[in-house]
Amino acid sequence: MRRTLWLTPWLLCLLAIPAAAQTAPPALSAGDNAWMLVSAALVLMMTGPGLALFYGGLVRTKNVLGTMMQSFILMALITLLWAVVGYSLAFSEGTPVIGGLQYAFLRGVGLDPNADYGSTVPHQTYMIYQLMFAIITPALISGAFAERMKFSAMALFSVLWSLVVYFPLAHMIWGKGGLMNALYLGKRHGYPHEPMKPHSVVLSFIGACLLWVGWFGFNAGSAIAASSLATSAFVATHFAGATGALGWSLGEWFRNGKCSALGAISGSVAGLATITPASGFVKPMPALLIGFVAGVVCYLMVAVVKGKFGYDDSLDAFGVHGIGGTIGTLSAGVFATNAINNGLKEASGHAQAMGLVDGNPGQILHQLAAVVIGWVLAGAGTWIILKVVDQLVGVRVGRDEEIEGLDLSQHGEEGYNFEG
């Protein structure tokens, strides 16, 4: 199996398609490389400070550093892992299940373009860009175990999870580890009895905005070129972020008579997460729709369903990212069109019909299969790894440490010392 799909993440990844024919001989394009380096920088900015702030603002004061640190340490840990074996496992030729060790220690990952990995940018550009994705995925999951997981357990979990789940499956599993973690770890001490208000919606707001900006690199960068496909993905991304905010806000308006800043930013993140598997395949108007649906559905998940079931997905990693990713994958089956993305050709040389709108209803089933398989693999893998980590170091901090807060108990420092 070729692992070098240049397609926007997650979509169609179960189709056994040949790598898109890239006929021009590889040659570096300064414009494309400029765009890809910028995109890599933007995706890193999504994790830090973006996601770190988004999550950090949602927790209580005593956990702010512990929560931000979960994102930050992944910027370091996953980078090392990626250089040593990760990139190779994810992207070199190997068995159908996992890549080989050909690129271990980045041997052979050079500065010349390689047609398999973006024919107009250095192979290393592709490698570093994909690394930024490998960092943010476990960082997103960390939202599910905020405020109660041991730092060591979190680091170990993320390493194992990357090795066993992400590197092999790469792009299928966005946010899906979240629910398992929330269930496995159990509720925070005092939840839902004690108030656990976000200690700073202001921080979350900054984070959400930077996520939005960074997401342009995430989705439009996935074209691996500053091409019109990049533009298309950029537009879809922005549109879905906008209507996601509107959808969530409307939901709040109906139920509470008010719409909140936290709601609007959560909705935009839901819209952005949802459009991700579909951006680069859909037109602008469907993107508006997809984002809106995402905003409404994720709101209902978080505000209604979560309350009913009573699990403690502290920062709604599952409710926003897991659900969003699922909606997005399915809607891609509906709205993907070869008017946007004609990377797949039929034998006749014509661009292959993609989603329902192209007259290919079967794609919805493919996408559904992708969703189900993704959930099952990610869920099972996550659960097993949690068990292992729990045996090795214990996943949850002690009760007193939880009350004291992660900042002091895990890191020996405090987020704010205003009175100093």
Partner: protein, 112 residues
């Protein structure tokens, strides 16, 4: 010597200070507190999770004064802080036995 403790609405702080200044009460210590009483709290909703917040921000004045000025000050303070709505706050009066000015070790009423 008496200590007058008054818990008032935060937006009345400026008015109270000026009223006290006008009658020559200059020394005071102020802190930010939260209060609970008859005044109804408000509802906050974060991601669908509702919180009824009934600890509302208040400002506490502490003024230590000679016995003979208590009534005048209580009246002035009360008038300045009053809006007539629930939550205007309370004034408590208690006895203080001695006061010391740290700077020069003055004691008693002269230290105020």
């Amino acid at each position: 010597m008496k200590k007058i403790e008054a818990v008032v609405q935060p937006h009345k702080m400026e008015d109270v200070r000026e009223a006290l200044k006008d009658i020559g009460v200059d020394g005071m210590t102020i802190s930010d507190v939260r209060g609970h009483g008859r005044q109804k709290g408000h509802r906050e909703v974060y991601r669908g999770q509702e919180y009824t917040v009934d600890l509302l921000p208040k400002v506490k004045f502490e003024v230590v004064v000679p016995d003979n000025r208590v009534e005048e000050i209580v009246k002035t303070l009360g008038d300045a802080a009053r809006t007539g709505k629930l939550g205007d706050g309370k004034i408590f009066i208690s006895s203080v036995e001695d006061a010391i000015r740290i700077r020069n070790n003055d004691r008693g009423e002269g230290a105020l």
